[in-house]
């Protein structure tokens, strides 16, 4: 809470020895390398005047764009990986260089040339920040070089160039090959209470917890031999034998055998399924799957199919809405848009989409809860919209999911393991803009809406949701780096062999999941994740939708 305006610090001229005094280097670990830097750079703080601007050094590393201010004492920084002025390269959306004397402007990609000397660098960030640096006093060559470096390193050509690989790889070097080589003294596994659903025991527990006795863990995809995008372990009706599943698999898009998500206490199951690619087989396979699900229902109830592609906006719609939202939140001038704020917010359609998803989830809840039927979420690839809906349904119906660790487990189960294409949707490689879509952010917004309507029903806070959303752009966590578990396994094997990393007992590189919050924050800071109003798991069904703006996130505007 910003209490009492900070006294405006007037810019003081600095001499060279002061400069060196304040050269504080804060680098994540030995895996981070400085690529390029420029001195005498001015970071613009205020929009109108430059009296609050900071002077310092602009540094590009293989992880982040860093600004080391000369004349302001380093503020106590709470983030363990990022300083006050740091931007992870993965968070940079667009690099724009400007020469205002010549009136030139260029958007930079990787491996590009720049024909003019930039006087200004503007970084448009994925988290809605817009950051400006001025090079009026900097050497023209070093300014140009640092801009090109930032542009180049924020467009990695290969996933293995994402900083996470260096970050994790370095752990296996060093003194011993074992896990004792911890980062910041933290166990890479995180001592986690969050189930990752990457082993059959996590699924067994979930089956037991929800009383889904007619469902079993299926292991036919071990080694990813059946489907490239499914996890190694998932849950299917007991009445379907492995042999049947192998047979049906080829009919589904990407061989994705329908996945069990969760059981309602009434015995109704929530299942997600991709389209059947073979039209001739469609009816037969659909019938088999449906009847198997019916058999697993204690009342032998029918199955309701909920077609998500038909009822919900697609990923391009969602992306378009976010771009409009960003336009009105940070790009349009505040004074001009002030009067039209609410109607422009409405016209971005973001809130409308949030509402559509919540409403659809409510309909599914109604089928499960009041009509006592099992529900199949049907989506072409089963990797985007289903993730949102299945999570929302479980959050609404199952108080268990509203504790912090179970919420994390839920994301692990319905997003990470189910193969949400985080790499493509985040567009970490900036290769294909058509695949970029903020589906996960939309989900967090939906959760925030529920959180607002039920302030005592969730163990976590708005801060937690915000931090979780921001972590998508810190590319060191297994959670947001890959399109599916198989891709993670393959890349980490390849990386290990190319760098001759001895993995020891591990089968793949052990990336920390984002749930290992100690990677980013001290235990004291993590207490901000705890909602003091939380009443425990006694609250019942939360549903019904009124929608508010995700203010906490939006309020974080350009600096």
């Amino acid at each position: 809470v910003c209490v009492k305006k900070r006294k405006k610090q007037k810019f003081r001229t600095f001499s060279m020895h002061v400069l060196t005094l304040y050269m504080v280097k804060v680098y994540v670990s030995s895996s981070e390398i400085v690529v390029n830097e420029a001195n005498f750079v001015r970071k613009c703080i205020g929009a109108e005047s430059c009296q609050d601007d900071l002077w310092g050094k602009l540094v590009c590393t293989n992880f982040k764009v860093s600004f080391i201010a000369h004349n302001s004492l380093p503020r106590q920084c709470t983030h363990r990986l990022l300083g006050e002025h740091d931007i992870p390269l993965a968070c940079v959306e667009q690099v724009v260089t400007v020469n205002d004397v010549k009136g030139k402007q260029k958007i930079l990609g990787s491996n590009q040339k720049l024909k003019f000397n930039p006087t200004e660098l503007i970084l448009y960030c994925k988290d809605f920040r817009i950051i400006r640096f001025r090079f009026d006093e900097a050497g023209p060559e070093s300014a140009k070089k640092v801009c090109l470096a930032i542009a180049h390193y924020s467009h990695p050509a290969d996933p293995q160039l994402l900083f996470g690989f260096e970050y994790v790889g370095k752990r296996y070097h060093g003194s011993t090959a074992s896990h004792s080589n911890m980062v910041n003294g933290v166990d890479p596994g995180g001592g986690l209470q969050t189930p990752l659903f990457d082993c059959s025991s996590d699924w067994d527990r979930e089956i037991k917890r929800t009383g889904a006795s007619e469902w079993r863990v299926c292991t036919i995809n071990q080694g990813y031999f059946i489907s490239p995008s499914l996890p190694e372990f998932f849950v299917v009706p007991v009445s379907l034998a492995d042999q049947d599943l192998k047979q049906y698999a080829c009919c589904f898009y990407s061989q994705r055998i329908p996945l069990w998500c969760w059981n309602h206490s009434s015995g109704s199951a929530l299942v997600r399924m991709s389209n059947i690619s073979d039209p001739q087989q469609q009816r037969k396979v659909e019938q088999r799957i449906s009847s198997a699900i019916t058999k697993s229902h204690p009342l032998r109830s029918d199955v309701f199919k909920s077609d998500l592609d038909k009822n919900l906006p697609n990923i391009q719609d969602i992306q378009a809405a976010l771009l409009k939202l960003r336009q009105i939140c940070v790009i349009d001038s505040f004074e001009e848009s002030e009067e039209k704020w609410l109607s422009s917010l409405e016209s971005s359609r973001w809130m409308e989409y949030v509402r559509t998803f919540l409403r659809h989830a409510v309909e599914v809840v109604y089928m499960l809860e009041s009509r006592h039927v099992s529900v199949i979420l049907l989506e072409k690839e089963d990797r985007d919209l289903s993730c949102v809906i299945s999570c929302l349904v479980q959050l609404m119906c199952d108080p268990h999911c509203r504790s912090l660790h179970s919420f994390q487990g839920l994301i692990q189960k319905e997003w990470v393991m189910a193969g949400h294409r985080f790499l493509d949707r985040c567009n970490h490689l900036k290769r294909n803009d058509k695949e970029e879509s903020p589906v996960f952010l939309l989900f967090l917004d939906c959760v925030w809406q529920l959180w607002n309507q039920y302030p005592a029903a969730f163990e976590f806070t708005e801060v937690y949701l915000t931090v979780l959303g921001d972590s998508m752009w810190v590319p060191v966590f297994s959670t947001f780096l890959f399109n599916c578990p198989r891709q993670r396994a393959e890349h980490s094997r390849d990386f290990a062999s190319s760098k001759s990393i001895h993995l020891g007992q591990d089968q793949a590189l052990c990336f920390p999941p984002v749930w290992d919050w100690s990677q980013q924050f001290s235990l004291k800071d993590q207490t901000l994740f705890n909602n003091p109003l939380y009443v425990g798991k006694i609250a019942t069904c939360v549903q019904n939708g009124t929608v508010k703006t995700f203010t906490h996130r939006r309020s974080k505007v350009s600096c």
């Binding site: 809470v1 209490v3 917010l345 005592a456 003091p532 203010t551």
Partner: protein, 583 residues
């Protein structure tokens, strides 16, 4: 459940709860309430001298309506009786809802319908009866009329001091009948001069001090507009008074005059003899217009808001419809004005004079919000009560006129939701600073409910003088008696105080929200789905428990230190760091 916020009630029993001196006047069976959310509901209706009580028994859960007659602004028969003898009645309420009932006319034409009885008791003032507040004789452990003692409040601010004195010139309300008796003015200005100033300020409302900064001595001064007129009249005593206000603050050689109105309106007031301070006459004073509109614009905006939120909300155009009411824009302008005042006083160390036309609507909105920003005392429950008593009640915000207590003249152009807007602004601040206010949202809603209920005397009459004349404190109960006798209901468990902090809220439209839990609380779909009120109480209990435990441990530690030091005399005494817990 449709029971509204009530004083003493147990909705599960569903029996008509009666307050002391409350009597049933009439009741009828077979009344149909046309609920906009669940459709027609049949039940029985009772009218007392305080409330309307409707109850339907043949449905689960039991459905009821329980509202003080004070919230009614209009009761009217809609259309003629149907062939079956059914008559419709529409009830418009001051608290953002409309109710509709259908009832069979009594066959005996001499007998009055229950709604005719309702009309009589809903508007006692128009029917030469007294408001229920004058009959209600509940006794509470605390006497709320003692909450505000002007001299004690000024003493808290360090007044009188070498620059400011407390004048008795208005002791008998002769100088200004809408001002309080105790006025704080610069020592260098005599009472005689004040009298001359009063003839130059609209309604005699001279510039007097509201608040003084404890360190810089910059003052917040309130007034009404100067009667400049078209000829640009001047008053040398008024000029001297403003100069004296500026001189009382050694930190600054400048002062600001905040005129709450749009400049066009301020200029138009010259035609009617009013106007604003000219720069020639008031040197070193800078005049700033705050662009806040008048009571009529605000009333119209709230009317539009009611149309948008009640009974049904058009989901697909919700935001643009809300925008078209301009309600949040008005809230923004008021908050922005108060922010500028607080900033000038705190950061600029300059004294400010605030006025609008008469100085009893926009002026108290601005001064009281600025005071909440500047002085943490006003963010406590009792401090907030003092603020209302002082800035609103004693300085003559015309509550009777603006609310129209017991008056059936619902089209009266003097009605306006000025006080509601102020409470909305406070709510916006509690959203932005959730730990800075001792009270919770329920406290604010309770105040608004009793603004209309006419159960307590607090918001009756237009001025301090009128309240004394009517002997309101003698014959009625104060709202603060009720509130302060059950404080646990109103305490914000997240409160940590920030005793010396000034709050500067962000006032952009982006940071303002519609106060859904007030304006749309009658819509079951918009209600907080899981009330946190109970949870707040649990947290308070938990905090009290932990605080007790800390004290115990501290005592234990102190005893141990004492005993060990007595055993081994000469050993250095350990100091105990006091532990503070915020749960």
């Amino acid at each position: 459940m449709f029971f509204c916020v009530q004083v003493y009630k147990d909705p599960s029993k569903g029996e008509l709860p009666l307050l002391p001196e409350e009597h049933v006047q009439d009741s009828a069976k077979d009344v149909t309430y046309i609920c906009p959310f669940i459709g027609p509901v049949r039940g029985s209706l009772s009218v007392t001298n305080y409330r309307l009580f409707f109850r339907c028994t043949d449905r689960e859960p039991v459905f009821g309506l329980d509202l003080p007659l004070g919230v009614l602004s209009r009761v009217e028969k809609i259309g003629a009786a149907t062939s079956r003898g059914d008559v419709s009645y529409g009830l418009a309420c001051k608290d953002m809802r409309n109710l509709r009932f259908v009832h069979k006319e009594p066959e005996d034409s001499l007998k009055k319908s229950v709604f005719e009885v309702l009309m009589k008791f809903a508007f006692p003032v128009s029917n030469n009866m007294s408001l229920f507040a004058f009959e209600y004789k509940q006794v509470f452990p605390e006497n709320g009329w003692k909450v505000y003692d002007p001299l004690a409040e000024y003493k808290r601010q360090g007044l009188p001091n070498e620059s400011w004195r407390i004048s008795k010139v208005n002791d008998h309300y002769e100088l200004c009948d809408s001002y309080p008796a105790a006025l704080v003015v610069p020592v260098t200005i005599t009472d005689e001069e004040l009298r001359r100033v009063s003839s130059f300020r609209a309604k005699g409302r001279i510039p007097v001090l509201s608040w003084i900064h404890p360190e810089s001595q910059a003052a917040v001064v309130r007034a009404s507009q100067p009667m400049v007129g078209q000829n640009g009249r001047r008053c040398k005593e008024d000029e001297k008074l403003l100069q004296a206000i500026m001189d009382a603050n050694a930190q600054s050689h400048k002062m600001f005059i905040f005129d709450a109105r749009p400049s066009v309106n301020a200029a138009a007031n010259k035609m009617k003899g009013g106007g604003y301070e000219s720069e020639d006459a008031y040197q070193n004073a800078e005049l700033v217009f705050l662009d806040i509109h008048n009571i009529h614009v605000m009333r119209e905006s709230l009317r539009k808001l009611k149309e948008v939120v009640y009974p049904n909300i058009e989901d697909s155009h919700w935001l643009s419809n809300l925008e078209s009411t301009h309600w949040l824009e008005h809230i923004k302008l008021i908050l922005a004005g108060a922010l500028r005042i607080a900033d000038k006083v705190e950061s600029g160390k300059t004294s400010v004079v605030v006025h609008c036309s008469d100085g009893w609507d926009r002026t108290p909105q601005l001064t009281s919000l600025a005071l909440i920003m500047l002085d943490s005392h006003y963010r406590t429950i009792r401090g907030f009560q003092i603020l209302l008593e002082k800035e609103w009640l004693s300085f003559g915000h015309r509550f009777q006129q603006r609310v129209g207590h017991g008056d059936k003249n619902h089209t009266d152009a003097d009605r306006s939701p000025i006080f509601l807007q102020f409470i909305d602004c406070v709510w916006q601040m509690t959203r932005q600073f959730p730990a800075a206010f001792e009270f919770n949202e329920y406290f604010l809603i309770t105040i608004l409910d009793h603004l209309y209920s006419c159960l307590f005397g607090t918001f009756l009459c237009n001025s301090e003088q009128q309240r004394l004349k009517e002997e309101v404190p003698k014959h009625t109960v104060s709202l603060w008696s009720f509130v302060n006798s059950q404080l646990e209901e109103f305490v914000n468990p997240l409160y940590v105080g920030y005793p010396s902090h000034v709050l500067f809220p962000t006032v952009g439209i982006r940071h303002l929200q519609l106060w859904v839990t007030y304006y749309i609380r009658w819509n079951p779909r918009m209600r907080p789905q899981e009330p946190v009120h109970q949870r707040y109480k649990e947290l308070l209990a938990k905090r009290a428990e932990l605080q007790k435990r800390v004290e115990e441990l501290q005592r234990e530690a102190a005893n141990r230190t004492a005993s060990s030091s007595s055993e081994r005399a000469g050993s250095p005494t350990r100091s105990i760091t006091p532990v503070q817990t915020f749960v």
